[in-house]
């Protein structure tokens, strides 16, 4: 029976034998806390010699956990690198079996060493491939979405009304407080910031025109769209992404149901319907808040309303609101696309959500720019 000693700190004895091999004698307890006492000594002793064969006498080892296994594996790897081997002798049967199970079949195998980090060319290539794949995804999805939207327009009775209503409530009604609050604050800040320089020139009376034109034509559609991208676009991506992870989308497909038709239509329609309504609320609150500054200068409500109505036309209002129809569609569509393309893994839904918001905001700005150019040439 081996004489074991598992209650003490481990001890190590190292001898270089005359016939060219290294003898390492280990005793005591080899665990996570104690292995650090003997590991460096064993490796250092091996490094100082040029031997190819190591014999580890472990007859005094009473207990060995994963850390001890790591020491044995490291000695085996070092010996194998010199074309030799490390033998472990004297282990208790249970520990012998444990060491045997954990023995690497080839300690010098190439796949055991970490892959070198990808170089610049690889990284650039991957990034380009990802962008091209994204573009392909967007083009494909745009085609699919166009087809199902045309189907929805020609088959309105097949749209799932209750679900559409519920999503409209989430996208529209639930977003109303934040849309109104931000509209009022932006309108107020704009009036306040323009009042100071305009007062020097005695031009405070044009504040209603500045606030109303800026809010109606540009700011309200943008603010509303960005809120929708942050609130609803991300929610669509997370919701559909989770359905992808939990196989609900696979289930839809095996029922013969088109996930784009089933999931994207109510969300895109809700986005298209709610974005203009929210924008109108944002405009009303933003323009109204501008009056608080004018009131401070002694202007009446009647003056403010007249100045606003004389500055903007129905074309301005329709131009601003029409823009949000497209922005609402883009935000909802990108949220659905990112959700449907969710990969597997614990971070996949988070990644999809982030990408939906980032892509949504970028596309909002691009679409707004295109509208600006088109309106300029149309003279709107």
């Amino acid at each position: 029976m081996n004489q074991t000693n598992d209650s003490e700190s481990p001890s190590i004895g190292i001898t270089t034998e005359a016939d060219g091999w290294l003898s390492i004698t280990l005793a005591g307890r080899l665990d996570r806390a104690t292995v650090v006492d003997v590991w460096p000594k064993a490796i250092e002793a091996f490094g100082k010699t040029s031997v190819e064969r190591v014999v580890i006498d472990a007859s005094g080892v009473g207990y060995c956990d994963g850390s001890g296994l790591g020491l044995f594996a490291e000695l085996r790897r070092l010996a194998a690198q010199r074309g030799g081997q490390a033998e472990i002798v004297g282990l208790a049967p249970d520990l012998q079996r444990l060491v045997g199970i954990a023995e690497l079949s080839d300690p010098t195998a190439e796949e055991l060493t970490p892959m070198p980090p990808p170089g610049l060319v690889t990284n650039v290539g991957r990034a380009v491939a990802d962008i091209l794949a994204d573009v392909k995804d967007i083009v494909t999805f745009t085609g699919e979405l166009t087809v199902v939207l045309l189907w929805a327009i020609t088959h309105p009775h097949r749209i799932r009304g209750r679900e559409l209503w519920a999503i409209c409530e989430k996208v529209g009604v639930n977003a109303l407080p934040v849309v109104c609050l931000l509209g009022a604050m932006v309108g107020l800040i704009m009036a306040f910031q323009t009042a100071v320089p305009l007062q020097r020139y005695g031009a405070v009376s044009i504040i209603p025109s500045i606030v109303s034109i800026a809010m109606i034509r540009e700011l309200s559609p943008l603010i509303t769209a960005i809120i929708l991208a942050g609130r609803s676009g991300s929610a669509f991506a997370a919701e559909i992404g989770t359905m992808r992870v939990t196989q609900e989308i696979d289930a839809l497909q095996t029922f013969g149901l088109d996930p784009v038709k089933f999931l994207a239509i109510p969300r895109v329609l809700a986005g298209v319907l709610m974005a203009p309504l929210l924008t109108i609320f944002n405009i009303v609150l933003g323009v109204s808040a501008g009056y608080l500054v004018m009131a401070n200068y002694g202007y009446s409500v009647r003056f403010y309303i007249n100045a606003v109505t004389n500055s903007v036309t129905y074309v301005d209002l329709l131009g601003g609101v029409a823009k949000t129809l497209v922005l609402g569609l883009v935000i909802a569509a990108i949220g659905c696309l990112r959700g449907l393309r969710t990969e597997k893994g614990p971070s996949a839904v988070g990644d999809s959500t982030t990408r939906a918001v980032v892509a949504g905001i970028v596309l909002i700005v691009i679409a707004d720019m295109i509208f600006g150019v088109v309106y300029f040439y149309l003279g709107i």
Binding site: R97, A166, M243, T246, Q247, D250, T254, F255, G256
Partner: protein, 270 residues
Amino acid sequence: MTETMKQTESKPIICVKDFKAAYGGRTVLHDVNFDVQRGEILVIAGGSGCGKSTMLFHMIGLYRPAGGHILIDGDDINAARGRVLNRIRRKFGVAYQSGALFGSLTVLENVRLPMEEFTDLTNDQMDMIALSKLKLVDLEGSAQKLPSELSGGMQKRAALARAVSLDPQIVFLDEPSAGLDPITSAGLDQLIIDLSRMLKTTFVIVTHELPSIFAIADRVVVLDAAVKTIVAVGDPADLRDTSPNPWVRAFFNREAPGAPQETPERSRGR
């Protein structure tokens, strides 16, 4: 019974021929050949990572194979597209490992959904049929609950009710007993046997739960990750006792390779 009907009944309902599956150029399964007879309960078994679920997902047309064919009632599901693929898919129902019930719909609505999309039944008719299906799985009392309000076992039973919603000829089940306690698992096994006998439905079940395999399987197809193909087909008890393949015998006898011959209750003191 006419000669044509007899021939139809004797033909296998699923034929897998020279099937090969690969992910990104890495072969996962190859040379897979087997048939499933009408009304049979066939279990696809094997160790973790052997390609059981991969096989199932190819059989239901979610993935395209790298080679070979899978015929569902004579139609090649992997060659079909669009409406043809959807027509084939209506011949079967699928219950996923996670249940995959639609979280925004009640249990009743989940079971109704395939009927809403593919039948001309009235709302009342759909409700009654869906409730009957829920009664079959002993869930009629949970009809108005959301899936999140159900236990794991109840979700799996609701998924089974949804899978048989359109009374398909074939039902595919992915790990129906996984994560369930032994009593719930046994109840689900009995339910599968009952549905198979009562509705004459063909079941293809992916599992590695040995008690379930022995309880429900008419035949087992055993896949092995080491050789990436089928290593045995047959009655589970026969395979356990007489398979010429030692890995198959070890699998059905629940033996770890190279384990010491000791009792499981041995002392584990350090």
